[in-house]
């Protein structure tokens, strides 16, 4: 085929961010067309509720990974937040104070990560594997193996409910708002510029008057707060606070973020791609279940997509160079 044709094709492949969005849209269309009742409003609601926690936690995670760090403790933060929520509810505290406390808790847990990574300068992978175990452990310490239930219907119904008679779930508002906030911060503010600079060249960023340590610290705090929020919403959705809530979610989140075209080495990535990654994983799972495909299939698909998301552009790059 002609040279410029290869060029354009390569160009498209190379920009994974565009590719992933295209793939996602494609999957959605195919699913809606071929899987009956995938397109129903109710199923849309279920879909959104299922990907709620991943979608939320993936937002700050994107920024953290763009700075070249990682936070594997998010799922445990979610669990601890949920456990504390249950504990306080049992202690007969008003939910209106419990929720802020859980967010605050998230901030503190995030700050602990931030402290170890930025102040002590320890590798974030090791640190957050440590806090992954620590926070989950504390969750069990707080609530043991028991489950706390009967949270106020007003709240649980809001989380599981939809806007008026529309099929649009209330929580979608939360996702959209937060996605917008993080998207703007990352792509349209000096902070965002700093995030990319730190991830791509920390030293050069320092020489441009940016404080990488401080930046990363606050990103970890943000990650904690959102994970705390995710814990609250998770608890209300299932109206059941448990220490093991969200166990193992961290890998799904990281997978979604990387699938969204964010470089694990930092410096590269975009939020729309990540959102697409989350939606892709979520809708695939949902569609496969509806068509009675065991979710083992999903594991394979996820893994392959994940590797392809980096391998594809690399190979494309090679193609271009030759």
């Amino acid at each position: 085929m002609s040279a410029e044709l290869t060029q354009t094709r390569v160009g498209r492949i190379a920009n994974w961010n565009v590719a992933i969005i295209a793939i996602t849209v494609l999957v959605l269309i195919i699913a809606a067309a071929s899987v009956d009742s995938f397109g129903t409003g109710q199923n849309f609601g279920f879909l959104v509720l299922d990907l709620l926690p991943i979608a939320l936690v993936a937002l700050p995670m994107t920024l953290v990974i763009v700075t070249g760090e990682i936070d594997l403790s998010v799922a445990s933060t979610l669990g601890l937040s949920s456990a504390v929520m249950g504990y306080l509810w049992n202690a007969n505290q008003p939910i209106e104070t419990i929720i802020p406390i859980c967010l605050l808790l998230g901030a503190v847990l995030g700050a602990v990560n931030g402290f170890f990574v930025t102040v002590l300068g320890l590798p974030s992978l090791a640190v957050t594997i440590g806090t992954l175990a620590l926070y989950r452990g504390l969750a069990f310490v707080v609530l043991g193996d028991s489950a706390v239930a009967d949270f106020p219907a007003v709240y649980t119904d809001w989380v599981t409910g939809t806007i008026g008679s529309t099929p649009i779930p209330n929580v979608l508002i939360v996702i959209v708002i937060l996605a917008a906030v993080f998207g703007v911060i990352l792509h349209a503010t000096p902070i965002g510029r700093a995030v990319f600079a730190v991830g791509a060249g920390e030293q050069a960023a320092r020489f441009a008057g940016i404080r990488p340590g401080r930046l990363k610290f606050w990103l970890y705090v943000a990650s904690g707060v959102i994970a705390g929020l995710a814990g609250v919403l998770w608890t209300l959705r299932y109206s059941s606070a448990r220490a093991d809530n969200g166990a193992g979610l961290e890998l799904a989140v990281v997978a979604a973020v990387l699938l969204g075209g964010v470089s694990i080495f930092g410096g590269k990535g975009a939020l729309p791609g990540v959102i697409a990654g989350v939606v892709l994983l979520g809708s695939l799972q949902n569609a496969l279940r509806l068509s009675d495909v065991s979710n083992e299939a999903l594991n394979v698909v996820t893994g392959v997509l994940l590797i392809a998301s980096v391998l594809g552009p690399n190979l494309a790059g090679k193609l271009r160079r030759t």
Partner: protein, 339 residues
């Protein structure tokens, strides 16, 4: 003080500091055992020690493999899934032909794991995909494949040849065979890493990839090799798992990867490669397992276990950093300009 004495003095002080990592774990382990034994002497009974060692064996084998990869500034998150695949493969194999000798079972397991390892290594090196991404991907893929194959079926103890099961509990001179196998893997790897060029080249790669390239080290082959080892050992661990627990389903070893990485990190292997030892990694595994059993014996609420492990990891890497900083400071002071 003459130059010679000076150098000698340096050497000792230095080697001590450098060994401090492993030392720290040994001390922690000692304390734990003593405290537990005091509160309940049966903790040191033959049976109890035997159980702890048996439980450690599998984690230790995985940790040794992981350490090799981490030393080269990579990581292998797929070990848990690989263990599952290997365990199920071997399980099915034995189910269908009970006559199969255990040694062959081990080899099959190692082979299965080795293939997965090579796949990881090739993708990392020649696909230029970061190890974290590759192995996170294969974590899902391999697990998925296992589920497909197993399709919810479970292999029970009574379906496995008694010979194989007894191998899981057999012991030689009082030491369980599984433990001996783990020890063998550990010692061999340790010797290769310490006393053979290949081993040193792995450290070199982790310590400075660019310099490794310039020094003419075959980085490609070594990387694949490291993943091969990790994979193969995960495979062996799978066989040990099958022999130990007798009941195997597609979920075997789920979520194990983080414990393994934890053991390695606690064992003082730097996640950025170039330093640490498989001894440390194995000790890390032993420590984590012992904590588990100790808490059960000490009647400490089992829920504390995970929290304690987490705190321990932070402590370990924190202390490790402290040592590193000290050493660095110590070394900076040593001017060597003549005149």
């Amino acid at each position: 003080m003459t130059a010679v004495q000076l150098t000698a003095a340096r050497r000792n002080s230095l080697s001590v500091v450098l060994r401090a990592r492993e030392l720290g774990i040994v001390i922690a382990l000692g304390l734990l055992v003593v405290v537990t034994a005091i509160s309940n002497p049966r903790f040191l009974s033959g049976q109890s020690v035997r159980d702890i060692l048996l439980n450690t064996a599998i984690l230790a084998v995985l940790a040794v493999g992981q350490a090799v990869v981490v030393i080269t500034r990579n990581i292998d998150l797929s070990v848990g899934s690989v263990l599952g695949l290997s365990a199920f493969t071997v399980g099915t194999l034995l189910q269908n032909n009970p006559g199969l000798p255990v040694v062959l079972a081990l080899l099959v397991g190692a082979a299965v794991g080795g293939v997965c390892g090579v796949l990881n290594g090739v993708l990392v090196r020649y696909g230029k995909v970061p190890a974290l991404v590759v192995t996170l991907g294969t974590l899902y893929v391999v697990r998925g494949v296992t589920y497909f194959w197993a399709g919810g079926s479970q292999i029970n103890a009574d379906e496995l040849p008694p010979g194989f099961l007894s191998f899981g509990n057999a012991s030689l001179l009082g030491v369980p065979v599984l433990v001996l196998i783990a020890a063998l893997a550990l010692v061999v790897t340790a010797i290769v890493l310490r006393n053979y060029r290949v081993g040193r080249e792995l450290y070199a790669m982790g310590s400075s990839p660019q310099a490794a390239q310039l020094a003419g080290i075959p980085v490609g082959r070594r990387t694949v090799g490291a993943f091969l080892v990790s994979g193969a050992l995960a495979g062996v661990a799978g066989v040990l798992f099958a022999a130990r627990f007798g009941t195997i389903d597609a979920a075997a070893g789920t979520g194990l990867e983080l414990n393994v990485v934890a053991a390695v990190v606690v064992g003082g292997v730097a996640v950025f490669g170039g330093s640490g030892s498989v001894w440390g990694a194995a000790l890390g595994a032993l420590l984590l397992t012992t904590i588990g059993s100790a808490l059960a014996v000490l009647e400490i609420n089992q829920f504390w276990q995970q929290a304690i492990v987490g705190g321990l990891i932070l402590l370990a890497i924190g202390a490790d950093r402290l040592v590193a900083v000290r050493v660095a400071a110590g070394l900076k002071k040593r001017g060597s300009h003549v005149g």
